[in-house]
Symmetry: C2
Subunit: 442 residues, 2 copies
């Protein structure tokens, strides 16, 4: 098994790559497993980075509009300095008193509505969602889980069982029900999106109960990113949450993708919908690439679990993780990240709309802040998904040293998801390059 | 709910602590949840560390014979430098080619028997065991899991379901069967430990099958540390594994506790038993406190999972994790860690045996390398566990600035588990202090 996707091998052949890369790929295929793969585009070896830029071994500067884990920027100096200082000093776990841990929890929780007043700190988004669902099951006594049709929430066994995006090889639980993402085009004539979503939740709850499962949780990515990025209209979620609460379940907002100002107009994606979740999970940008994640709870949901089960994560919330995560919050303040994302995101969106206005292949541009999706179809008249054209655009951008990806169940939504470090100059370069590719392909 | 254990509150009262600590504890109880607790002893705030030493805010030097996550030493300079360099350069994930990732995998796998030739790199021990069991279930098509009676393998929902040490609040799966740890005192007269363990595995498999569960895996800590540390005699495991294989299951060796030379005479605990597991999980010392973990597979067990399901961990195996983990292997070579552990562990064991030879309260001293257990009983004649005396010894050692803990289902086994950084001078200091406490309490 090669770590290149089969399609990549067909398209390029390992032997077309530089000798050094061929060597890495061969050795990698020998020792890594199971199922390590490269990013969709032809492999590039990056040796340094700054801001939203990655530099390859030949000194070429790639504009990174895909990797948002290093949200405040690749190799950000302030985060690097904080981690370097801490790792040379001490790195105790949460069983020892750490003033910095407490101060960080206070500071992070201050960005949430007051109801969310308890914080737990695992290491990965998967662990965050796994803990969230454990607590939800314990608190509700239910087992049923509702997610969207192409949701991805992580890869522990439990979380994989409600992550349909993982595909047919990874079984869904018998306690899991799927609803469609909030795509207004799916509403019946005259039906509001709110009613459409509420009816789906209600039907899922009834079906779960018919099969003997009481509801534990609705878990949803607040921007429905793996489903294809659905950010507008807002405001339909309270109706869904009301149904969930009426059935005894809790609402878990998965902010791994949509959190930390990625959507620009707020720190957290759920705020855009005017809801206050029962549990919120965080990952990615929280540590700027350092393995840390977070879960915020309403205490009435988590306290009994704390007393009767408890949770300890040896590697979560240690001094070193806290140094990284605190430095990230510093940068959010120092660099006015939220405002920058809102401004640059708006320019990026407007530019993309201008560049694709006359294209018969662009069905919609969606998104908010620095999380945008361009849905590619075969023809505006017959809205059939066109993943091939989508792939070709990604490849053409990559050849011009701009990195993006794609999303959605049909793989036909260009995913433009730069780190929140993206500057106005980065937006210009992106649009200029995208314009060249769009002229040829859109 | 206070983050002090109820017993701690009874014993000391928060108001007896320094004002600064009281403040941290109060604020911590307000913002952290669910179930954060302090280490068993009275909370101490450590502000720096080196080797096996932790320094508190007043400059007091504590000898750390408990925290072995920083295996090669607190704030080890070589690891700190490697992480500091990398975080200021670049930190890409495994979807990009990294020579250092491949080189690390080659180097780590070289410490295993040749059969274990594939490596995956999650972030925590829990994630490692979760992935191991996912692969085991997929490969075998079975669901049944056998663990020891007081096993701990982690805290994802799946892994918690076969971690009985978590207690009654955390339910075991209906597909989980418990066997007793390899305590030779449990054998019937004339029965070998090998037969005792084999019979237990056989009975567990039959009971699983009787309830409709085919076997997926036997997962065992190679030193049975949470059960009370059972390291001798060796050699009984192949008989267990043969039963597992005959039933179509796989053997997962959990080396989170026993790996990375903690047992002194070998890099991996399973080697002491002369078996080659199907899957090996690693954590703790692998990154010296940086969140990284590992899973080594026989390719015939993991390859189909790789093709049909695949596994990607956003935060696992990134450049930064690899920098930390590679530096740890450097130190193992530079400082001859394995030999040092063997020598210092032998001195420590001999010293403990001498100091407790005449005590009516010490039933047994067990262990290997730098993982030792002292079983405390009420009286040598009637071997009833004495967790109270055990606790009092831990507290007395702590008052003399030596940190240890305890283990076993009755909480009556002193756990002496220093980092592999422990020096000959550390052993002397430990034994001297232990001798003073033993005179009073043993």
């Amino acid at each position: 098994m090669s770590s290149l996707n089969p399609k990549q091998i067909d398209a390029i052949g390992v032997s077309d790559l530089p000798e050094r890369l061929q060597d890495i790929i061969r050795r990698r295929d020998t020792v890594l497993g199971p199922g390590y793969q490269f990013s969709e585009t032809i492999p590039v070896e990056f040796v340094s980075g700054f801001g939203a830029h990655l530099i390859d071994r030949d000194g070429n500067d790639y504009l990174d509009a895909f990797n948002n884990v290093q949200g405040v920027g690749h190799a950000h100096r302030h985060v690097a300095d904080a981690v370097s200082r801490q790792i040379a000093t001490v790195n105790t776990d949460t069983r020892y008193p750490q003033e910095a841990l407490v101060a960080y929890a206070e500071r992070l929780l201050a960005t949430f509505p007051a109801e969310l007043s308890k914080l737990s700190l695992p290491c990965t988004g998967s662990e965050a969602n796994d803990l969230a669902i454990r607590v939800a099951r314990f608190h509700t006594g239910g087992e049923g889980i509702i997610v969207t049709r192409w949701a991805f929430h992580g890869r522990t066994r439990e979380v994989a069982s409600f992550s349909p995006m993982l595909g047919a090889g990874s079984p869904l639980g018998p306690n899991v029900r799927l609803i469609s993402a909030p795509d207004p085009r799916l509403c019946a004539p005259g039906q509001s999106l709110e009613n459409y979503m509420r009816d789906q939740v209600r039907a899922a709850i009834l079906d779960l109960e018919r099969h003997g499962y009481r509801l534990a949780a609705l878990i949803a990515d607040s921007a429905f990113t793996s489903d294809g990025i659905f950010t507008h209209p807002m405001g339909f979620m309270q109706a869904m949450v009301d149904e969930v609460h009426a059935a005894g379940g809790v609402h878990i907002a998965d902010e791994v993708q949509s959190g930390f100002a990625q959507l620009g107009d707020s720190m957290w994606g759920f705020s855009r919908h005017g809801v206050v979740p029962d549990i919120v999970t965080m990952g990615k940008a929280i540590g700027n690439g350092f393995p840390i994640s977070g879960v915020a709870f309403r205490p009435e949901v988590s306290d009994e679990f704390g007393r009767k089960v408890s949770y300890f994560n040896t590697l979560g919330g240690r001094s070193l993780s806290i140094a990284a995560a605190s430095a990230v919050l510093d940068v959010f303040e120092q660099e006015n990240v939220r405002e920058r994302v809102a401004v640059n995101g708006a320019t990026l969106l407007a530019g993309l709309e201008t560049l694709t206005r006359d294209s018969p292949y662009v069905a919609e541009i969606r998104g908010s802040g620095l999380y945008l999706g361009v849905e590619i179809i075969k023809d505006r008249g017959t809205p059939e998904p066109d993943p091939i054209r989508c792939e070709s655009i990604i490849k053409n951008l990559r050849d011009r040293r701009v990195l993006i990806s794609r999303t959605g169940s049909a793989g036909n939504v260009l995913k433009v998801r730069p780190p929140v470090a993206f500057t106005a100059a980065d937006v210009s370069r992106f649009l200029e390059t995208f314009g060249i590719v769009a002229k040829q392909r859109l």
